[in-house]
Symmetry: C2
Subunit: 341 residues, 2 copies
């Protein structure tokens, strides 16, 4: 029998999550049945969408149950297999949740192929976050040559790829990030055309100055005050893929006036498109093209990415809480185990 | 020389327009030059979009200038022609604005073909309002069999056709209208599946009861409290064509809390599509099909419409002001002149 450590949802947060909303516990894993595999988790991906799963508001996905294991995608090593497609020692991508070990049906896991890039990219730039950027731009944003694309959290796993995809399409990429270090990375390493610090007092006018021709595509992953600054700059026929609203996740707006009429008025007067999406909607039609287009560019170093790796499953809650206020710098991962190799 | 009467924008309204924002005046028309036609206006169409042209906020169209003639579409009789395509006595559609007579370039006007329906339909159900309903549903709403389509101002020129197009697509049509008389018309004459009175105290729960399977398409032409009631009912992958926000036109929301986060959260969590549009965007690709599909259905009486006709150009301002608070019942038109026939 294998004992797994896991992190469960102890209670639903009101406002910002705290470490009290999580509980670390042990459990005995069941025997591996025919068709199943036993997995040792190497890396756990921490992502903003998990905040949504902690609440029981109506959503595209069911919430995590109280006392249920926190959901999440991982890179794992197969330790035992009773499924013909998998052998011990192989590296796979799985939705084990926040845990050290798991037994899953082999049909629910995938071999990792990162074109020679590190296996962590399978849950980062070549995984769900990367595909979120790719599919949101491909299907909704549709940047054209000479247009201006703006994205916030530009040093993060989604934002960094949004900007680089904009550049590949011949558009101008303007990033928004928090603090000098992240801004320098976005401008100098990722090669965005301009970057604006959302912590600056003059943020709204800085953004306007960085977008002299207005904004054609705003990839929305933060909400809050960034949207307030973006809205007046949106051009006729602008597109807004909405994949996240991290600034709104922890509770109501602090505004004492209603900002909805201004947004609806801009949608009407400037014929804007807003479309919420979850990457899974586009997997069937676009995932293969994503891997074929982006995989080699990541492996060759043409597309850049950055990872922020925290050690130990027990540190996942604090890392996750920090991410919601922008403390991570790059794709946030937890190194759960170093594997057998 | 012909003397025309015209209504100009005397001042920009703050909040609801009043009759003082308009001025009736006379002007001498110029001679008809080569390529031009002289027109006598028979009917003027009054539409909510005109409220937008009275303001100088950034928009898809330039505002009417102070002392400029109020914009608008009309059905006219040609009284003199120096353009080869037009002869005196012919009936045309033109953008003369709010006036009794005009001289225009022949290239800017069109012959009226209403498939045998009254000429007024050329600026109603078979004109801009009808094409707004048609193109918004065709391109953005895309109703499918068994889905639920909701539209407000359901007895009006856009809403009435939205619901009837939904029915043609096999969808369920739920209308929102103000008062018993309009509701009865929507249910009994237009054949909507259900109708809800927005003046009722229990409006939000009435709407929920009328939409037991949620809402797949909400055709937004009013904004305000109707949107608040619609939002919680929107289904996954719901579509919201935004063609008007009449409740918002006259000024800021009266809400003392910020409703934007709730809307953005629904867009994200339910993968909603919102798209502002002006019918002119779709003319090139869809206008011919609109005329071919809808024209015969109007002429044969299968598609129903209702007109609310006010006599005399001098009454246009009051009729327009009344329309903004829902006083009209059907497509609002001004009979400017009875023509020579």
């Amino acid at each position: 029998m294998t004992t797994a450590r896991q992190i469960v949802l102890a209670s639903r947060p009101s406002g910002s999550p705290t470490s009290k909303n999580f509980r670390l516990e042990d459990r005995e894993l069941p025997e591996v049945q025919e068709g199943e595999v036993a997995l040792r988790v190497l890396y756990l991906s921490l992502d903003p969408y998990m905040r949504g799963r902690m609440s029981d508001a109506k959503s595209y996905a069911a919430p995590v149950a109280i006392d249920g294991v926190m959901e999440g995608e991982t890179v794992c090593e197969v330790t035992r297999s009773r499924h013909q497609d998998f052998k011990p020692g192989e590296i796979v991508r799985a939705r084990t949740g926040w845990c050290t070990d798991a037994v899953l049906n082999g049909e629910s896991i995938q071999h990792v192929d990162t074109h020679g890039a590190p296996v962590t990219t399978a849950i980062g730039v070549l995984g769900m976050p990367g595909f979120t950027a790719y599919s949101g731009m491909k299907v909704i944003g549709q940047p054209k040559k000479g247009e201006t694309v703006v994205v916030a959290a530009a040093s993060g796993p989604v934002g960094s790829l949004v900007g680089q995809i904009a550049k590949l399409a011949g558009a101008r990429a303007v990033g928004i990030a928090g603090g000098q270090e992240k801004c320098a990375y976005v401008r100098n390493e990722l090669g965005f055309d301009a970057v604006v610090d959302h912590r600056s007092k003059g943020f709204a006018s800085d953004l306007a100055n960085a977008c002299p021709d207005g904004i054609d595509v705003y990839f929305e992953n933060v909400g809050g005050p960034v949207w307030d600054a973006v809205l007046p700059l949106m051009n006729l026929y602008g597109r807004v893929p909405v994949c996240g609203l991290i600034a709104n996740y922890n509770g109501a707006s602090s505004s004492d006036h209603d900002k909805l009429p201004a947004t609806m008025s801009a949608v009407l007067r400037r014929s804007l498109l807003m479309r919420g999406f979850i990457n899974t909607e586009f997997v069937k039609e676009h995932y293969t093209a994503f891997r074929q287009e982006i995989g080699p560019l990541v492996a060759s170093g043409k597309i850049k990415y950055r990872e922020d790796i925290v050690d130990g499953l027990e540190n996942a809650p604090d890392a996750f809480i920090g991410m919601l206020s922008g403390k991570n710098f790059g794709k946030l991962l937890v190194r759960v185990s170093s594997g057998s190799r």
